[in-house]
Structure formats: structure tokens, C-alpha cells
Symmetry: C2
């Protein structure tokens, strides 16, 4: 039932500041008939005539994706909003999962619009800790067992990647981040730098860099992105950065 | 010799399309007295009265960083431009390297403004291949020996990261990417999906996804970002994506 007028755009709103929303995303929101997403992200979109907002709760990503595809198939111009970049631990994968089950939806006009993902804004606020090879791990253990997270932490350490962590810590399972810090201390030693970047680009932004020896689990919450340096990452003045070269 | 008026902004122009330049970066360029960077990136900034453009050749990053800091110390409002995000294999680390040598410059007003880095735009154009844990490796062997690149490829494969590669191949050392494909075939098998994203977000954009068995070195050039999926990455319709969960 694909319509010539229906479309689905999966758009990234960036980490919080309006000045970090790309013009491409702003234009897509201006053309939308429906905006779908997690409550706090939909709240960032200004109401206007002709636009229906569809905020929904967390952890219903697949239902939300299906509802958005359904509306697009009915001929509406739907924008699914994510914080940051929609392709990094956000709604794009959920939409493609929903699409797998419905071949008739696969001909729809679907586009993903990138956004400034939190680790890039966090790194910029701290200096340039991701200036050399790095990895990006979602520490939420809703989506994978701890054994896989631990294996990835150990391989990333042995590869001497800098590391960015999303969803480091939730009230319901604080022990995961405690274990993460233990593994990192074993693999990288006590002097490795770690940056806690909270609420990046918002008025609540707080950037703190300490050593792994000094790091404690309560330095992170679910609004925090954590960046661990590689073996060469160091401070210069108030900044922290990773050199471009291996010497 | 820091002035109260001088400043240095290290800004990311995104991968090419004007619609991917953040308003924050546009505002910084509007306020600049001097724009410094590699020739093709400075060419993206419109000339105007009161603005001096300082294009320079590739591979002079440290000299360029020093010149920019010098002008900021003299009281000018300098913007150093990079393609993509300045903190990902770009000018931010070079500026901080230059800053290490000059403590008197460390009190300057220095800010890094994030941008849409190429892998995010490439992933969005392809679907969502970076929707699960991933790593990001600069394959240029100007900056590190092949042994380190190989070690990182093997650890990333064993960790089952998706991988994004920058600077996969240059005319002067094409054998590096040939070796990369060999290591990946050994570690990940012939059926793993690999996406070649060339000139992302520009009129020349071309996105091709094949298996590792089908991949050949000439599919990449220096305008290409390469994304290798993890073991679960798959096609849905015309897209490629990595599921959020490990099952």
C-alpha cells in the first residue's frame, strides 16, 4: 500500500543544542506531517498546524518503528526522531528490523539523515580524545550479555583503541559500569585518562577528566558519555587529546 | 601574548553537502577574520569583506596549526576548518599537538565544534551498518606501521565490531588495502558485508555493498569510506543494517 506521497525519514537531532541540528534535519521536520519518537526527543520539535506529534515511551522501539512505517505507507510524511545520530544506538536499526518483516513496505521512500552523535560532541568539548583509532560500545546490557561487553573491552584495550561508551550506567544495574572500570584498570593500568561528559551541549554540560585510578562508577549516569583514551592520550592545558601518530 | 579578542575555533564542515553543516559552524565562519585549512575545505567557505582565507596543502597539518594559533594570539578570530568532524582524523589533534609546545598559547580561547564525520553520513546513506558496537580505523600508514593496523583489524574482528575505515587507499601505497581485505577475509569469512561509500553527500555519491569475497581493492579510493559489518549485519531491501541486539 505504498503511496507516491508517503515517506519515512529517520533523523538525528544531535546531542541537545539547537545549533547542532543540521539544516537537512530542520528541513525534513518542516515538511513532516507526523513526528514519531521517544518523549523527550519529540518534545524538541515545535508544534505547528498540520503536524501531529507522536511521543512514546522508551523501550518500545520496534512498536514505534512499525507505527511510523504504517503511517508512511498510508501516504504521510513521517519523521522518526532520535537524539544524536539515528544510526548509532538509536532508531535507524529498529526501523530496518521492522522493515524486514514487511516486504511490501520495502519500496517506501525511506531515508536516514545523520546527526551529531554524543561522542563527537563530548570529544569536542573535552579536546580531541578520539583523534586516533577508536571504538564505540553501548554498555547497556539490555541488548547483549555482559560476556560480550567484557570481550569487547579486552579486545579494544589490546588493540589500543580509544573508547567511547554510551549508556554507561542505569539505576537498575549499576554493577555493569563497576565491572567495566575493573576490566579497564586490569587492561590499561591506573594512569589511563577517562573523560565523563554529561549532558553535552546543554546548559547542564559537565566535562570531567580523571585517571582510571580516580574514576568511580557514580561519575556516570544515563546522560553521560564516557571516553577512555588510548595509551598516548594526554592532557594539554585544560584539554585532553590523542595524538594522530603512533611513535 | 594572548589577546582578549583573539580566538581559535576548530570546526567540522561535514562530509560535503551544505545541508550537513551545523548552524554552530556557520555562525563561527560568519564571525571569523581568518579561515585556515586544506585547500579544498577552505574553498567551501564563501569569500567576504573582512575575511582572509588561508588555504594550504595537505600534510602540513602542524605548520598550519601553529600559524592558526599564532594569528589567534595576535587577537584575530581564526577558524581552522576540517572536512567531517575535526576530532576524527582531522585538525583538532594537530592543533593540540602544536599547543603542547607553547604553554603561553594554552590560555587562548580555543573551541572545537563537532561536525558530521564521513562514516555517519556513509552509514546513513547505506542504512544503519553502525547500529551496533563498532570501531573506526584510519588505514593511512603515514601515521602508524602496518603491524599496528593489522593487530587492530584482528582484535576488531574477534570483538565482532562493525568497522569504519578512513583513508583506505592511496595511489602511492595501494597494497595496504589489499592486505586489509586479506586479513578481513581470514578473520570474518567470505560472506561478511562490506560497503564502499564514495563522495558521500555530494553529487558524486556512490554506495556499493558487496561481500568480502566480492570486494576488490579498486572499489576504494581516498574519497571512499569503507564500512564492514559485524557477523549479524544483513541486507533488508536496498539497505544494509546491524541489529541492535546480540541474539
Amino acid at each position: 500500500m505504498a503511496s507516491v506521497t508517503g515517506s519515512l525519514v529517520i533523523a538525528g537531532l544531535g546531542p541537545g543544542a539547537e545549533a547542532l541540528v543540521t539544516p537537512e534535519v530542520t528541513a525534513a521536520l518542516s515538511a513532516a506531517t507526523d513526528v514519531v519518537g521517544y518523549i523527550p526527543y519529540v518534545a524538541r520539535v515545535a508544534p505547528r498546524a498540520g503536524l501531529t506529534l507522536h511521543p512514546s515511551d522508551n523501550r518500545v522501539e520496534l512498536d514505534r518503528a512499525r507505527a511510523a512505517l504504517e503511517m508512511a505507507a498510508e501516504g504521510r510524511r513521517v519523521v522518526v526522531v532520535s537524539s544524536g545520530d539515528p544510526g548509532v544506538f538509536a532508531m535507524a536499526s529498529a526501523v530496518f528490523e521492522a522493515l524486514e518483516a514487511r516486504e511490501d513496505w520495502q519500496a517506501l521512500d525511506i531515508r536516514v539523515l545523520p546527526g551529531i552523535t554524543a561522542m563527537l560532541a563530548a570529544a569536542a568539548a573535552a579536546g580531541a580524545p578520539l583523534g586516533h583509532d577508536f571504538c564505540c560500545i553501548n554498555l547497556s546490557d539490555n541488548l547483549k550479555p555482559w560476556e560480550i561487553i567484557e570481550s569487547r573491552l579486552r579486545h579494544a584495550s589490546k588493540a589500543d583503541f580509544a573508547m567511547a561508551f554510551y549508556n554507561p550506567r542505569s539505576a537498575s544495574r549499576p554493577e555493569g559500569f563497576t565491572r567495566t572500570l575493573e576490566v579497564l584498570r586490569q587492561e590499561c593500568g591506573p594512569d589511563r585518562l577517562i573523560t565523563f561528559a554529561r549532558a553535552v551541549s546543554t546548559p547542564d554540560q559537565r566535562i570531567v577528566t580523571v585517571t582510571l585510578a580516580e574514576a568511580t562508577p557514580d561519575m556516570a549516569d544515563m546522560r553521560t558519555v564516557v571516553i577512555v583514551g588510548n595509551s598516548a592520550t594526554r592532557r594539554v592545558g585544560r584539554f585532553v587529546y590523542s595524538p594522530r601518530s603512533v611513535r
